[in-house]
């Protein structure tokens, strides 16, 4: 915030300005309260999981083979990674391509844009259980892929497509037209402008979308049970069935026998999401370095 240093005002000045503007003060209070509430709730949940899960984190949870004694989470962790990779490999090109088309190529009045936007928003609103039913009816039964990573990956790819598309679109829109005009003015073509100028500057927004998607993939249960199956070992190929961490947790918790380990798995899941967020923010920083 550059302007802050220019019109810096003292605390006292600010207070007196709030006396003249009670509404502003009220809004300030509201915003801070909302933030405090959010942080409080979120930290509460995180600590709740940690308190219940950390005491049950045992080395057995990370042994290479799942047995009923160690209820190892390692195969599930690997499967989750595979699933995230597979789903993103399908969804990211489509999502970004779609957003580029909408923002950079299509005319703003195009009817086609409206259809794409309407369908994307429809996709975003479809409950995961319906994706599960659809994936089961289409990929598993109609295409005869059986319960497999592939069927799960495609189902999830469709599910996260709108998230990636929407956030990319917003990020592309937010890129100032001056960038594009500058690039065109220097003689670059449309494609070069998109890939060299617009996309890199939209990277933080895009990666935010990808993070949200990864989160959704990692946390998904309802859509995967009917498409990817629940086999507790690392799938040999994409046509084999496997369980992701959250399905693993769902099943552990299910019969009330492994509740402690289920909480421990939730801790692993948290760590997982944390690592993914860290990596993606690291990548974003690398890409955007020297851009501004």
């Amino acid at each position: 915030m550059k302007h802050e240093t220019i019109n810096r005002i003292s605390f006292r000045q600010r207070l007196s300005s709030y006396r003249n503007n009670p509404l502003s003060f009220l809004l300030l209070l509201l915003v801070w309260c909302a933030m405090a509430a959010t942080v409080f709730i979120l930290l509460f949940i995180v600590f709740y999981i940690l308190v219940n899960g950390v005491p049950h984190l045992t080395p057995g949870l990370f042994s290479p083979v799942y047995t009923t004694d160690n209820v190892s989470a390692l195969p599930a962790i690997i499967t989750t990674l595979l699933m995230v990779g597979l789903s993103l490999a399908i969804a990211v090109p489509f999502g970004i391509g779609c957003a580029i088309f909408l923002v950079e190529y299509a005319k703003k009045t195009n009817r086609f844009i409206r259809y794409v936007r309407l369908t994307t928003e429809t996709l975003a609103g479809i409950p995961s259980i319906i994706y599960g039913l659809f994936g089961m009816l289409f990929f598993v039964i109609a295409l005869k892929w059986n319960l497999s990573l592939l069927a799960g990956g495609f189902t999830l790819a469709i599910m996260v497509l709108p998230t990636i598309m929407r956030s990319t679109e917003e990020a592309l829109k937010a890129t100032p037209d001056a960038y594009r005009e500058g690039s065109f003015g220097l003689g670059a073509g449309r494609l070069r402008t998109v890939f060299r100028i617009v996309l890199p500057s939209a990277m933080p927004g895009i990666s935010a979308g990808i993070i949200l998607s990864v989160g959704r993939i990692v946390g998904e249960t309802a859509a995967l049970i009917y498409t990817a199956g629940t086999v507790a070992k690392v799938p040999e190929n994409i046509f084999a069935s496997g369980r992701t961490l959250s399905i693993h947790m769902y099943l552990l918790a299910g019969e009330g026998i492994y509740t402690d380990q289920a909480y421990a798995t939730a801790v692993i899941l948290l760590g997982f999401v944390l690592v993914i967020n860290f990596i993606s923010s690291f990548i974003t920083r690398k890409i955007t370095k020297g851009q501004d």
Partner: protein, 299 residues
Amino acid sequence: MKKFATIAVAFGLLSAILAGCSGGSGSATATPTATESSQSLGEITVISREEGSGTRGAFIELFGVEEKDANGNKVDHTTEEALIANKTDVVITQVAASKSAIGYISLGSLNDTVKALKVDGVDATAENVSNGTYSIARPFNIATKGTPSEVAQDFIDFILSADGQRIVSDNNYIPVDANAATYAGTKPNGKIVVAGSSSVSPLMEKLQEAYLALNPNATIEIQTSDSTTGMQSTMSGICDIGMASRELKDSELAELTPIVIAKDGIAMIVNKENSLDNISSETVKEIYTGVITDWADVA
């Protein structure tokens, strides 16, 4: 302004952390201090399972919650006020967290966060189920279509052998045949898929591990879903053995051959702070049909 803000936030975070810790640890180590007289607990929180659940099916049938009407049609009279839990652990967690709750679960899933009631004066134990004094039990079925593959047949032989049945009783389920012969397998090669009921699959996983220790040539995959999916997968040939925690339906019996591999008792559970120890099956029925709604009326 900034400094003030930072301090305020730091304080907020700190209190959040403290609250989080106390809340979390409090619920984690819920040690009952004193058992309350059941009469003073007020309105009963009735917890049931979803329609179609093998546990619920057996429960409503055994306690007479399901009755035939004048036309001979079966009607499930479970009170509309009953909370519906979709998993065994949800029932346990609900009962553990609520003093006024009552629920029913598989005997094999019983743990010490809740209290199992005697029904008509009989303890809910595997022993009492197998000698017939505790009559609230249901079968664990597996089903195959046509002639099972060599591995599937060998695995079934193992389950029904003395070795397999010992694993059944070790895990608090009730063996079907106390005098089975020991397993003398042929150790065939191959891969089979077992799919179905989430109630049966914890037991099936134990059986599978023991079997694979004896026959390393085989590969067994277990898909955990539910009884109906398991039966349908078996009928369509996606899996070799289906698991069901209920009796098979007529449409399923037309295509599949069921085998009972174990029996499972159903335990009535209440919160540990509830002083009630024994409940009559008639009372259970009245609670679940909504006739009795307050603990004060429980005799």
